[in-house]
């Protein structure tokens, strides 16, 4: 018996419910039915198949309550609720959706297993969730989009699949601009109605290439440098703290953040060549 499920939150929850009925079943996941059929043909050509999550329109919240009937009182407002947990984990580059379904199944209906599971697998997936969250948060901090007249554009290569989340986040901040986020092979467009498209769209990069602004309509990088330097208090320099807060790995998302990181590393020079020239002229 094979459970073929779509690697989405709904698919994972439905597969978990099916696995509860048939614990001996094998799990196969796919992003779309075509991929699923190919996988099945290669590995289980003759097995009995149950397909879940490809055409279902169900309430995920209700599904989550069925998968986890107990332990909701142990989740606080500060934890990611199970649906967010699953969604975030699915975005991790190393996530194996079949493993995730087995993990959910292994919780035996106790929701706090997700957060406080003792076994290595539970800890690993909890760590995945934190890494994705962190990755998204750092992107929100350090990306600097190119600002066209009607479009904000950013090209990112995040470690995990969070480009669409970034796109939505930028769109909420800038409701009067269309936002294009290119992450790898795909481009995400949000506030697409400004460009006479759907509100949110996942498409190929080629199809929206003509919409991408080549340079900033107003380039505030020099102004930002001036501002950034003006905020420095010399006698409070804290090298280790600032390096930790502005990590090198994540500051590479944009040239502006890279430059900020450089100042964190090297400090801000207090005298410039211009000062030197002025001093010389003053001396003469």
């Amino acid at each position: 018996m094979i459970i073929l499920f779509k690697a989405t939150v709904t698919g994972v929850l439905l597969a978990c419910l099916e696995l509860r009925q048939r614990p001996e079943a094998d799990l196969v996941f796919a992003c779309d039915p075509k991929e699923g059929e190919t996988k099945l043909k290669m590995t289980y050509p003759t097995a009995e198949i149950i397909r879940v999550g490809f055409n279902s329109k169900v309430d995920n919240q209700q599904l989550a309550k069925r998968v986890f009937p107990d332990g909701w009182h142990r989740i606080t407002n500060f934890d990611s609720p199970p649906l967010n947990y699953i969604e975030l984990v699915l975005r991790h580059r190393k996530c194996n959706p079949a493993e995730l379904v087995r993990l959910l199944h292994g919780c035996e209906g106790e929701v706090d297993g997700l957060y406080c599971g003792k076994e290595r697998l539970y800890k690993r997936y909890y760590r995945y969730m934190c890494e994705v969250k962190n990755n998204y948060h750092r992107l929100c901090m350090f990306v600097r989009p190119v600002c066209g007249d009607t479009v904000l554009y950013v090209n990112v290569t995040p470690k995990n699949h969070v480009s669409d989340m970034l796109c939505r986040w930028l769109a909420v901040r800038n409701p009067d601009r269309a936002v294009i986020v290119v992450g790898g092979k795909f481009a995400y467009v949000c506030n697409g109605e400004i460009l006479k498209m759907q509100h949110f769209l996942k498409t190929s990069v080629d199809s929206i290439q003509h919409l991408i602004p080549s340079e900033d309509s107003a380039n505030p990088e020099e102004l930002w440098d001036t501002y950034y330097k003006s905020q420095m208090i010399d006698n409070r320099r804290n090298h280790s703290l600032s390096k930790r807060l502005q990590p090198r790995g994540d500051s590479g998302y944009s040239t502006m953040s890279k430059k900020d990181r450089y100042f964190v590393e090297r400090g801000i020079p207090t005298s410039t060549l211009l000062d030197f020239v002025n001093e010389k002229q003053g001396g003469q």
Binding site: N77, A218, S230, Q231
Partner: protein, 378 residues
């Protein structure tokens, strides 16, 4: 009085540099995404600037006091709006913090600040706006500010009328500061009542103290902060360490140690988020009424040894909050996740185990300390 035009001899970059430097000691932030960190480790989250450093005030600690020989410059409201938009679009900031020197009188100054905020809002800016208003701002302007700013307030600078008249001779503490804080509090309450559910801006009350300009002890500052929180629903106080500025009446004063500012912030969080009052903090001052350079919560735990160790599985919320290493978030998680079986579970909830260990028991067992050990031996 209008902004004198001779300030415009400077380029935009120069003016921006002077005016932003004027706010670099102002701590202000919103609890959202930080976009950059300075080499001093402070988060740069807002575009902080003065509207102008022309000032009619004679505050004795201030580098921009009138008659002091400094470069006087201004930014026009349109320039500030443009810079804010450019930075915001570039995802470099979350919003604007706008303060100013006193342009003639408080009314004119606030009108200018309000003009900037209105321009931004009318252009669809939905970021954060924090206005630092002048003492003596009239009520009708405060009313308008309440509709556009996410946070606004008047600097109290110090703890009482006598001290205030010493450092800010142009204003009256009771009328120009306390009365305004009171009005702001009432306006915010009204806004909250009217717009709680319709996503409109509900402001918050804030103020700032200059720490170390006068000899006032930390006890006075903390008592004042607590008083303001009770009376004026102060959201949070800000503290600015005093640095003597040449060519001012306080130029011979001594620099306030930076840790003092940090400890005061920690105490203000204890008042704001941990349900403590100034009476609790009284236990940890030295004989002169100053805080020690140590974590105030740890100090409090040390002077109240009879309260510890706390049993994680049975203690109430307020007892958990008194444990160093446990904050409001982790205390709430503990309450909802009982029974707790081990330290790793606590660590996952955000408890700093290294700090908390001497002060907690889990299921009856905890770390033995030297005093207990000695007691058992005898």
């Amino acid at each position: 009085m209008s902004i004198p035009s001779d300030g415009y001899h400077f380029t935009l970059h120069e003016r921006m540099r002077y005016l932003s430097s004027g706010t670099k000691y102002d701590s202000c932030n919103q609890s959202a995404v930080c976009h950059a960190f300075g080499p001093d480790g402070r988060c740069i989250q807002l575009y902080k600037t003065l509207l102008t450093n022309y000032c009619a005030g004679e505050c004795t600690y201030c580098p921009n006091r009138c008659h002091r020989d400094v470069r006087r410059v201004s930014l026009s409201p349109e320039e500030i709006v443009k810079i804010t938009w450019d930075f915001y679009r570039k995802n470099a900031i979350e919003g604007l913090f706008l303060s100013s020197g006193v342009i003639g009188d408080p009314e004119t100054t606030t009108e200018k600040q309000l003009h900037v905020a209105r321009l931004l809002r009318n252009q669809g800016f939905n970021g954060y706006i924090h206005l630092r208003l002048m003492p003596g701002t009239p009520f009708h302007l405060l009313q308008e500010v309440a509709g556009v700013a996410n946070k606004f307030g008047v600097n109290a600078e110090t703890t009482g009328s006598v001290n205030y008249s010493e450092i800010c001779p142009n204003f009256d503490y009771k009328n120009d500061v306390l009365q305004r804080l009171n009005w702001i509090c009432k306006l915010i309450r009204k806004q909250r009542k009217l717009h709680r559910y319709d996503h409109k801006i509900i402001g918050a009350n804030d103020t700032q103290f200059v720490v170390g300009a006068l000899d006032e002890p930390d006890r006075d500052i903390v008592n004042t902060v607590h008083d303001f929180m009770e009376k004026y629903q102060l959201r949070r106080p800000y503290f600015m360490s005093f640095d003597p500025v040449p060519d001012t009446p306080l130029e011979n004063g001594s620099t306030s140690p930076k840790w003092r500012e940090q400890r005061l912030y920690q105490v203000s969080y204890l008042l704001k988020d941990y349900g403590l009052d100034s009476g609790h903090i009284d236990q940890i001052y030295n004989d002169d009424g100053f805080l020690l350079n140590d974590d105030p919560k740890l100090e409090l735990a040390r002077v109240n040894p009879e309260m510890f160790p706390v049993e994680i599985n049975s203690a109430d919320y307020s007892s958990l909050l008194r444990v160093p290493g446990i904050g409001p978030i982790s205390a709430s998680r503990i309450l909802r996740s009982r029974p707790i079986y081990g330290e790793d579970e606590l660590a996952r909830m955000g408890v700093v185990i290294g700090r908390a260990r001497p002060f907690i028991k889990i299921g009856g067992s905890g770390q033995t300390n030297l005093i207990q050990f000695a007691g058992e031996c005898t």
